[in-house]
Amino acid sequence: MSIFKKIMTAIRGGATEVGESIIDSNATRIFEQEIRDAENHLTKAKRDLTGVMAQQMSSSRDVERIKREVVEHEGYAVQALDKGDDELALAVAEKISTLENELATQQQSLDSFQGSAERLKDLVKKSERHVAEYKRQLSMVKTTESVQKATSAITDNFSSSNSKLLSAKDSLERIKAKQQKFDDRMKAAEVLESENSDNSLEAKLKDAGIGANDNNANSVLERLKAKKK
């Protein structure tokens, strides 16, 4: 079963009982231990790989050396034959035969080291991928667990503070109303400010005798006199 399915099953199964941990903390610990074990194996595999690669290099040097010796001795054998010393040539040929046997054995172990190194490299890569995947799964399990615990803390807090949860729409309406009130206040403040500046200008104009003058008794009398005529 994939980790997603496990978590889903756990959430569905545990959803009825709020506050109850859905993931067995013991299981999490076992999982963490498994990751540590896998990491230990990985370290060991890497160490093994280093050893095998060192052996591979040494074996490869031996193969080269024997090959050189074979070529060298072949030269000696030809020289001995040229000199007509068949006995010496035979002795050299025997040496070459021994060297070739040695080469075959050495080549075999080189091939085997190469094979082991390849296998170990594959193993290291696979193990690294596995550890990364385990860690991702553990993170999911732990997050699920943490959200569960956080939810239960939040729920406890809500019930202890007796605060009634509003419906989403009511909440939105209240927030919008607050925003409207805030905007209105800002607008009112702006209007007030501009009115104040209007007033002060008017006062200045009046002081300078510009603009509309106040009605006074004299002006009323003037108007009445004008009507009478």
Binding site: A15, V18, S139, A150, L172, I175
Partner: protein
């Protein structure tokens, strides 16, 4: 990063936040530490922040199953799924019988990142309730 550091940062911001939002933080104790963050003027929709081993989770509760109009659940789910990618930084989920909107940040996030996340989450929450109100009682 832990919730106390986040609370400390948000409290020092006061009115000087880049987002123009004023945050109030209140730690909730429990098995896991949770920070309840309220945005000034939006007290009805608090954000809950918890920090795990590798991420910071910011969650806002949207509405309960019982607030969804009868026979509208499927339609609402489709709308929510369709909105999930266009909606910046936040995603939907369900905890128990409550629909939530949440954002997850890497544990290595900066305070600026967290502040930005909270502001976007708060805006998204308001907007999505508005957008989904046809499906809600």
């Amino acid at each position: 990063m832990n919730i106390h550091k986040i609370a400390g940062y948000l409290n020092t911001l006061a009115d000087d936040s880049d987002t123009g939002m004023v945050f109030d933080c209140q730690p909730i104790s429990g098995e896991v530490d949770v920070l309840q963050i309220t945005v000034f003027g939006r007290e009805e929709l608090p954000i809950f922040v918890s920090v795990t081993d590798d991420q910071i989770l910011c969650i806002t509760y949207l509405w309960g199953e019982e607030e969804v109009k009868e026979n509208k659940t499927n339609e609402m789910h489709v709308s929510m799924l369709e909105m999930n990618i266009p909606m910046p930084l936040s995603s939907f989920s369900k905890i128990g019988d409550k629909y939530v909107i949440f954002g997850a940040l890497a544990i290595s996030s900066t305070f600026d990142d967290i502040e930005h996340e909270l502001a976007v989450l708060s805006n998204n929450a308001l907007e999505i309730i508005d957008d989904m109100s046809d499906y809600l009682i």
